[in-house]
Amino acid sequence: MVRREQGARAIGAGGRNGIAALAGIWLTVVPVGALAQDVTRAIDPRAGRDGAERVSFPVELHVRVWAGEGDAARPFPGARVWLTRTGHRTDGTGSIPVAEAGKSGTYSTAVEVGGVYDLHTSAMGFAPVTRRVRVGDAGGIASNELDVYLSPAPVPVEEILTRVEAERAAQLRGHTLHHIELGERAPPSTTLAEWLAGLPGLELRRRGEGGPQMVTIRGSRPEAVLVLLDGMPVNDPLTGAADLSGIPTSSLESATVVLGAEAGSGSGASAGVLALRTRSTARGTSVGLTAGSFGHLAADLSSGTSGRVGSLSIGARLQRAQNDYSFENRVWPGQPSEKRENADRRDAHVTIAAQLESLPVSALGRVDAVERGSPGRMGTRLFDEARWREVTGQFSLSAGTEGGSGVTAGYTHRRQWYTDRRLDREESLSARQIRVQGRWRPSVSSSWLLAGYAANESVGGATLDRPNGRWMAGLSASRAFGPPTLEVTPSLAADMAGGDAMLSPALSIGSRFGEGWRVWGRAAQAYRIPTFADLYLASSYQVRPNRDLLPERVRLDAELGVEWSPGRLRARSSAFYRQTTDPIVWLPSSTAVWSARNAGRLTALGVELGLELLPAVGWEIDLAGTWTRSRVRFETERTALPYQPEWSGGVALERVSGPRRALVRLRYTGPRVTSLAATHELPAYALVDVAGRQTIHIGRVDLEIELGIRNLLDARHELVELFPEPGRQLSFRIGFQTPPRSGLPSDRRAGNMDLDGSSVDHVGRAPDAEVPAAPPGGDPSDIPLS
């Protein structure tokens, strides 16, 4: 055990800066676990007996990571180093990145007085190291260095895969990425789409509470966002848009948003990709009940177990809501106050995940069922008896290899019913998709990555001309070039879909320089093939199919970004531009007969700004702002894209103190035109959400109490014209959670391979389920790209 008194020389063999004469400020390092003890001893043979190692503070902490021992030790760049405040839950809160400074194996950050931290270091092929760092309470300034020695150790296959995926994420550095470890982050009753809408560049679309919810990226239409759930597309085969309302956050492990065209994922990733990952690593057993305004009731359960053969985890959620909120009917004389009708919904969700212990093979299945009303806009009663029902079953099987290669096969079957008793109308539709995708990397250290997929999808239903199916297949290759400080990654994706062949090149450049600076740029192409509705829908005499449609093409999707992360601040800004030619647009003909057409041109440009600040221990402030100019060009006219605000942004303030967590979030959305004619505009609105959570330890069980208030100021607004949104909503959740046991299942899936045949999930995840996930910057956080 080690103790170093204040004012002593820098710690360890790698020390270089004195820590002299900093009275009263000390930092204590307490090794945790056997490995950590070994490392600590290796750091400083003069360690004291009590295991406490004192250094000065406030500290700009420098950590030098070494591989090997003794004279054979060498600086080790590329490790992941992060701090977590002890006593916090493993939900990622309080995670402080220790950024790598150059390629010398040195990492640095700042720490605060009064806290106790765990310093985590991990690298593939080495045993992870965790050291406890205790910070004193007196003043002073110092610069400290700690040395961490990594010992070679057998590494579970899943960590290798994780690492490879992280490297693949780095290859996507031309993109702006947002990664959210959902878990316990979202306040109760906040839907996935609502949560995502707080990210720069993302906007929410929905027709009131209870209906479908979609997101757009960087001034796009919803169908330009490819949503993958465990690698399988969620996008509706008829509309091309993905309804996120049927995927509860409680069933998800993480969400990763890739902003910008990503042709390697296949058709539809014109503006970006949202990759969702089903929760498969239940941390003990959790049971919760939620109640909220407008008849919202929910019950959720998750549990996991493991043994010699492998692990198994299950999750289930039942929820219902009346959504009978009041609104002002502004289209009726006198603008009477009315209650929303036929907006109720019931959901049922079940997930099952299994993993083998001896092989990197995992299986996952889920069923999501929704039954809801389909109300019309305010003032009409025409749809008061229209109901929508949808059941989706999905199964996937994944396997990976140590070299980072892997394959996933998935099957999705979706049934939809639309009924209207008033009109004695019932229509149904079924859609199936089989998709096999894989990636291959010649070696762990190879800069090459090859990926491919093959899929068959088929749709049948009364409103379609006939049952239809089609094959799609694609191959993509990428390779990174350049010195460590400048990486150039060209890639090429070739796709065959529905009889059309597409080539989509991309080029990305990334560079790090100075203290915490990073710049990146990217130019890419992508495409979206027509949906089945575009091609075959013939629901009435006013709707005609168009089998001659061409895929719409993103001719250029470009991005230029810069990031500056000096210690407790991370500022990032991106400028983007996207031009889509031959967009598939539903338009009426000269005699008002609707059909899909390749018409016009879409352009979107804008600037995003994100700021993450850790002003003090336990405090986090996130700022986000987006300016977007999205235009539709038909013939010689240019008009604003409906429902796309030019300005949007928000600020979130989060406080974590021991078992308590509080969050206040303000979101602003600017005015939006409601049609291509731009004769009507919805006013700007601002929403304030607050949430709090208290955890009480009762023996081995955690009692969790959560309270959330959405739209605290009761702002009345519409996301889609004449579809009222609810006012203030209260929600309350009480839950019980047993602590995780040793040997809990860790997520060993080979990656959902949903991003260019690869995955960015797991990036930042600690190898130990008890250790907080490490993506820096808090909520929502970005994937670290190195």
């Binding site: 806009r377 025409l382 005699t591 008002a592 006219e637 009507h680």
Partner: protein, 382 residues
């Protein structure tokens, strides 16, 4: 004004001389005192997608904007309007929550009238026809396809009044002639959503005083009677025609102009338009202009003209007017009408980009055009 045409053509022609009176004097050249030739007509265009009423004038061989467009409420989804003096009226369907919209050109005010009863939002009004009573009160007649009734509504009155119930399956237009209401029932299957004929269309005859039914005229062999004009004792009905099965829903090209005599309760003649009829508009020159489809789909149209005096086509299916744009290409008009001198005005339905109001020679040659709103579906010249 159009109602006057529908009621009595002579009155219409007289009123047609009153042009520009309602034009916003603050609009460009709106007072007719600008340079160049005088304003000869005011044109109003209803734009269903941009939810506006465009206000334009004809000056010589040019079209000009007269005033800013009238912005209709966001729930607007109508396809027809009527204008009388300073008042305009249009309707909103059941999908938007059934309403009748009145407005004043002079003041810009708008008033909403709803339908009575719990199911009033489902009334689904059709094309409105403005009427004026002897006391000078302006009101509108509408047939409703949701509850198959006839209503009358007045600006400022919150609710329409029921005149007659159970008037047909799909009432497209109600016209008053003296004390008689003529209800044009297309007799289509709207409840089932197929919009296929349930039988022959018909003209129902009702007493204005109490809404009682007293007779009907079956339009045997016609399909989809969707508009009508009154010519003395005669009624000129546009039967638009049907369409084929899915997925192409091709036009059956069986549209007709049907002339029925209300006094004799019989069809006098039926004139095939050899296409599907899209719209029928009275011109200031006393001719009726019918736009029709010209091919195997609904993508292209031309224009026929009908002589009221002779009850025959002036430019019939074999000799249609082919409207042309500035480049000489065919101009697919949704609706067309004429000025006193026979020059044509036609509107093009466009989405995404603005539609156009085109000024053409009597033969369809291009003279001028000007953008209007998106989804132009009705025009009135006065």
């Amino acid at each position: 004004m159009r109602q006057a045409l529908r009621g009595a053509m002579a009155v219409t022609l007289g009123l047609g001389l009153v042009t520009g009176a309602c034009i916003d004097s603050t609009g460009p050249n709106g007072n007719g005192n600008g340079n160049g030739p005088p304003i000869t007509a005011e044109v109003l265009v209803l734009n269903s997608l941009s939810k506006t009423i465009s206000r334009l004038v004809v000056r010589g061989d040019a079209l000009e904007t007269a005033a800013s467009p009238i912005i209709l409420p966001p729930q607007f989804d109508g396809v027809a309007m009527d204008v009388l003096s300073d008042i305009w009226v249009t309707t909103i369907s059941a999908a938007g929550g059934s309403q009748i919209l009145f407005g004043s050109f002079a003041t810009g005010e708008q008033a909403v009238t709803t339908f009575p009863g719990a199911a009033g939002a489902l009334a689904d009004p059709s094309k409105p026809s403005l009427v004026i009573d002897l006391g000078g009160t302006v009101g509108t007649l509408v047939g409703t396809r949701g509850d198959n009734s006839i209503y009358i509504a007045f600006p400022g009155s919150p609710s329409a009044q029921l005149l007659a119930a159970d008037v047909g399956e799909f009432t497209e237009r109600v016209i008053s002639v003296a004390a008689v209401l003529l209800s044009i029932d297309a007799n289509l299957d709207d409840a089932g959503g197929t919009f296929q004929p349930l039988g022959d269309p018909r003209i129902g005859l009702y007493r204005f005083t109490d809404g009682s039914f007293f007779d009907e005229i079956a339009l045997t062999g016609a399909v989809n009677a969707n508009d009508a004009l009154v010519l003395g004792d005669d009624v000129l009905v546009l039967a638009g025609g049907g369409f084929g099965p899915a997925p192409d829903f091709a036009p059956n090209n069986d549209g007709q102009l049907v002339i029925a005599n209300a006094a004799a309760r019989e069809v006098i003649s039926s004139l095939a338009v050899q296409g599907n009829g899209i719209a029928m508009e009275p011109g200031l020159n006393g001719f009726i202009y019918v736009t029709r489809t010209t091919g195997s789909d609904f993508g292209s149209t031309d224009v026929l003209s009908f002589n009221l005096q002779t009850r025959t086509f002036a430019r019939g299916p074999n000799n249609p007017i082919r409207p042309r744009d500035a480049s000489g290409a065919d101009l697919n008009c949704w609706a067309a009408t004429s000025l006193l001198d026979g020059r044509l005005l036609c509107i093009t339905f466009s989405a995404g980009a603005s539609g156009r109001l085109a000024l053409l020679s009597a033969d369809g040659a291009f003279l001028d055009d000007i953008p209007v709103g998106q989804g132009a579906v009705d025009l009135i010249v006065r």
